[in-house]
């Protein structure tokens, strides 16, 4: 058998670390799963924020007024007068007095169909649609009612608004926390793999070290290797999350599978930076682990 001629002119330096490692497949899978979870958490954070914004918009765009009749005025007449008064307030787009039947229907779940007596003083309600861009405050509405001599209580849902805003913030923060935690887990996994890789390749590292390679040169080899691995894993993880997100959007429409977490097509762009972020996190983790171990050598 003749040996093929070695063409030095076409020679390209080979990779200083072996290209394949039995652990690489498993590590790629672990990082891909972590990236997938992080991407889903990120998309959940966006959905939670959108849901909270939607709830806020709904509440900001409406208010309820409880009207108590005065003197000889019937409850229906008082409610009608209140609706008329409030319709003239700036920012109120519609004001409607709830008829007795509708008011009783609201009480039915608590009192039952037979529980409502004719002489029970059922309060009348006036529902208001407000301009969401410039809604009047509860004080503005109360002032208008007082000026018209109507005894009423205004509920602009501000109490609920605070709770909903807080709930939305908490859901978003929780999702971001999960994403950060998963990112940290990925970094830890890569740091562990770097240490294992350095230990497994100690013979190579020592030869490089004793041949005059600087620590940052050797660390750079591991950094580049794990950055490539994490970028690939990040791509797979992001792709998985996008597929799941797209399926949820396609099956559930704009509301997703639940109105509590509405999904937008734009949310599917959120995982795009994942491979880059994964590569940066992996590079930093690998470099830090490698430098720490190399400093232990003479």
């Amino acid at each position: 058998m003749t040996t093929p001629a070695f063409d030095t002119a076409r020679w390209k330096p080979a990779a200083l670390l072996p290209r394949e490692d039995a652990r690489d497949g498993a590590l790629t899978f672990v990082v891909a799963v972590l990236c997938f979870i992080a991407c889903l958490a990120g998309m959940t954070a966006l959905s939670a924020d959108r849901a909270a914004q939607g709830w806020r918009a709904q509440l900001t765009g409406s208010a309820t007024v409880l009207v108590r009749p005065k003197g000889d005025e019937t409850p229906d007449a008082a409610a009608a007068r209140a609706a008329e008064t409030l319709a003239g307030v700036r920012g109120v787009t519609q004001a409607a007095a709830l008829e007795k039947a509708k008011a009783e229907a609201l009480l039915e779940p608590w009192l039952g169909r037979d529980g409502l007596l004719d002489d029970l003083p059922v309060p009348r309600l006036v529902t208001l649609d407000l301009d969401p861009k410039a809604p009047p405050s509860a004080d503005d509405l109360a002032k208008a009612l007082k000026t018209a001599g109507i005894d009423a209580t205004v509920d602009d849902h501000s109490l609920w608004m605070k709770d909903i805003a807080r709930a939305g913030r908490m859901a978003g923060l929780a999702a971001l926390g999960v994403a950060a935690l998963v990112g940290a887990a990925a970094a830890a996994a890569i740091a562990f793999a770097t240490r294992a890789g350095l230990a497994a390749r100690r013979d190579i590292v020592e030869v490089l070290h004793l041949s005059g390679a600087e620590d940052r040169f050797i660390a750079g080899l591991f950094q580049a290797r794990f950055a490539r691995l994490a970028a690939t894993a990040g791509l797979f993880g992001a792709l998985g999350a996008v597929i799941i997100g797209a399926a949820v959007r396609a099956l559930g429409g704009a509301d997703g599978l639940t109105p509590a977490l509405p999904v937008s097509w734009l949310d599917l762009l959120a995982p795009i930076p994942c491979p880059l972020i994964a590569a940066i996190v992996a590079a930093l983790a690998a470099r830090s682990a490698a430098m720490s171990l190399l400093r232990g050598m003479n």
Binding site: T3, P4, F6, T8, A9, W11, K12, P13, A14, L16, P18, R19, D203, I204, E206, V207, L208, H209, L210, S211, G212, A213, E214, D215, F217, R295, N298
Partner: protein, 241 residues
């Protein structure tokens, strides 16, 4: 070039493997390092190529104290030292060509600048037809020659060799010694650890002899190096690097 002053060394808490070693290798000198197994030859070499630190004493390399050197200076000192390890330490995933090119890559040289040098050196050590071969496919002697080529390719100021002729026949041993002599003539300081008393005797070179970690004798450096290897070794078939 290399100066040891009262150097001792131990591994961890084990007893000292080198004790109070003092010697001075002048620039351009050629010494043998002899001693029984376990006498401390490899440990002494590892101190020179900066793989270990002494537990006591001072080491000067290239006119500067190793103890006073910052960590980021050590790689540049190591690049001036070529080492032929006893166990060769070839990178098994790299071809013969890539193994020899390694020190030049680490030194930051461009492939265009060293391709020819590496090829010529491999040809000179008799591996011209095996440049693409992986170390695992080479014989013991070929691996030894490959390790030597890697150690000398960057034209180091100091060449250390730990039993460099242990796995080769006498003809190849003489040829390798010729390479060392040639490098020495070009100004490289050479220190060769060996058990081969015949090789040492024929060379007429000064000897550092270790006994149980102590330096027993250090001969003078001859002004004119003897030409025993040049006279006895077969002439190289290929062009010298």
């Amino acid at each position: 070039m290399v100066r040891f002053d009262g150097v001792s060394m131990r591994y961890g808490r084990a007893p000292e493997v080198l004790r109070d070693v003092t010697f001075d290798l002048a620039p351009g000198s050629f010494h043998f390092l002899t001693g029984a197994s376990g006498a401390g030859k490899s440990s002494l070499l590892s101190l020179i190529y900066l793989a270990q630190r002494p537990s006591r004493g001072l080491i000067d390399l290239f006119g500067r104290s190793v103890a006073g050197a910052r960590r980021n200076e050590l790689p540049f000192l190591r690049r001036r030292i070529g080492v032929v390890f006893q166990e060769m330490r070839l990178l098994e995933h790299l071809s013969a060509f890539d193994n020899v090119a390694l020190p030049l890559r680490i030194a930051g040289r461009k492939p265009e600048g060293y391709r020819t040098d590496v090829a010529e050196l491999l040809t000179w050590v008799g591996l011209g037809e095996r440049m693409h071969a992986m170390p695992a496919t080479l014989s013991g002697g070929e691996r030894q020659r490959l390790a030597i080529a890697r150690a000398v390719v960057a034209r180091p100021d100091v060449l250390l060799a730990d039993e460099p002729t242990g796995n080769v026949d006498q003809a190849m041993a003489l040829r390798i010694m010729r390479l060392f002599v040639e490098l020495n003539r070009l100004g490289t300081t050479v220190l060769i650890a060996t058990h081969d008393e015949d090789l040492v005797a024929r060379s007429g070179r000064p000897v550092l002899h270790l006994e149980q970690g102590r330096l027993a004798k250090a001969g003078p450096t001859p002004i004119e190096p003897p030409s025993a290897y040049a006279a006895e070794a077969p002439p190289p078939e290929e062009t010298a690097p």
